[in-house]
């Protein structure tokens, strides 16, 4: 049997570099270099003997999480989804002034970190919402778009104060 001689066509490799370049640029644009993200928190200052300054009750929102990861707000069982609204209510309505508002957060040794962070996240969400509204009202801009100084200015009127009570083995009475 006679085999036909195949002619191998010339593959031009000249444009390969261009293709590679395009790919490179595409990936450069498309990939976001992964950066760590987290909830930024300023821990309360340490004092050897915990002093309890009498704080007016209306200015405080007490939040408790027990070892079963159940939530209690102001002495009542509550859902995690309520916490953001309760936080905003405290700051805008219940407290004498938003500057005096304090969130008292207490957790148990057995509380899971996931729940704790979810609670913290909700409180932060409440404040972020208020800061956003305030910056839109005062500067007509989103809070994230403001410069550092204006952001601090907005925060000054609505300071985020979370007081973390030493955890104990508390139990929520039903």
């Amino acid at each position: 049997m006679k085999t036909k001689k195949r002619i191998v066509p010339v593959i031009s490799a000249g444009s390969l570099a261009d293709v590679a370049f395009l790919l490179l640029i595409f990936f450069l644009v498309a990939t976001t270099i992964q950066t760590d993200t987290g909830l930024n928190v300023l821990l309360p200052a340490w004092s050897e003997n915990e002093r309890f300054e009498p704080i007016e009750n209306r200015n405080v929102l007490s939040v408790l999480i027990n070892s079963e990861n159940e939530l209690m707000i102001e002495g009542e069982r509550a859902q995690l989804s309520d916490l953001q609204t309760r936080t905003e209510q405290l700051i805008l309505k219940e407290a004498k002034s938003p500057r005096l508002a304090i969130i008292s957060l207490q957790n148990d040794h057995g509380t899971s970190y996931e729940t704790y962070l979810a609670v913290y996240n909700e409180i932060k969400a409440g404040y972020n919402h208020i800061w956003e509204d305030e910056s839109l009202r005062r500067f007509g801009q989103h809070y994230d778009d403001l410069d550092k100084k204006s952001q601090a200015d907005v925060r000054k009127n609505y300071p985020l104060v979370i007081s973390e009570v030493e955890p104990s083995r508390i139990a929520i009475n039903q």
Partner: protein, 156 residues
């Protein structure tokens, strides 16, 4: 008489490989840019929780990491399965944190920047708060109060 001489036999032309180094270089650069250098081996299993109110960690050089989670399989025979703290390359107790932070502080050259240092807590979501509180207490005692609880976005 023709100016262009017709070539006789056409053999299989060689594929030029001249651009191959370029391509390889490009890949190299790409990976160089994208890869994140990990300076210490993580010896604990960590799956960070989800959250929505996240902020980016700025100034990588001013961030110190504390890992908390159950040891990975390799270390279970020595360490057990209870959640542990990892500082740098080794397991540690909460009481070692002041020394660790002091060490980290000396790595920051400019004294002015030392106040801006942040401690990134990479904690597994299943960990109980007891061990986290111990770490927090140690940090508060040495007045190192800027902390970031690492988490991923809910949307992703």
């Amino acid at each position: 008489m023709s100016k262009f001489k017709k070539k006789g036999k056409k053999g299989a032309p060689a594929i030029t490989t001249a651009s191959l180094p370029d391509i390889v270089f490009m890949l190299l650069f790409f990976f160089m840019v994208v890869t994140k250098m990990r300076d210490s081996e993580i010896m604990v299993k960590i799956q960070v929780p989800n959250a929505s109110e996240l902020q980016k960690l700025e100034k990588k050089s001013l961030v110190t990491h504390i890992y908390i989670g159950s040891p990975v399989e390799k270390y279970i025979p020595q360490m057990g399965t209870a959640p542990r703290i990892q500082l740098n390359d080794q397991f540690a107790e909460a009481t070692q944190i002041p020394l660790f932070i002091a060490n980290e502080k000396t790595k920051v050259v400019r004294a002015k920047d030392r106040d801006k240092m942040t401690c990134a807590m990479r904690v597994d979501k299943g960990v109980k708060m007891g061990i986290v509180t111990d770490v927090k207490t140690e940090l508060r005692k040495i007045d190192f109060r800027k902390v970031s609880y690492l988490a991923t976005d809910l949307g992703e």
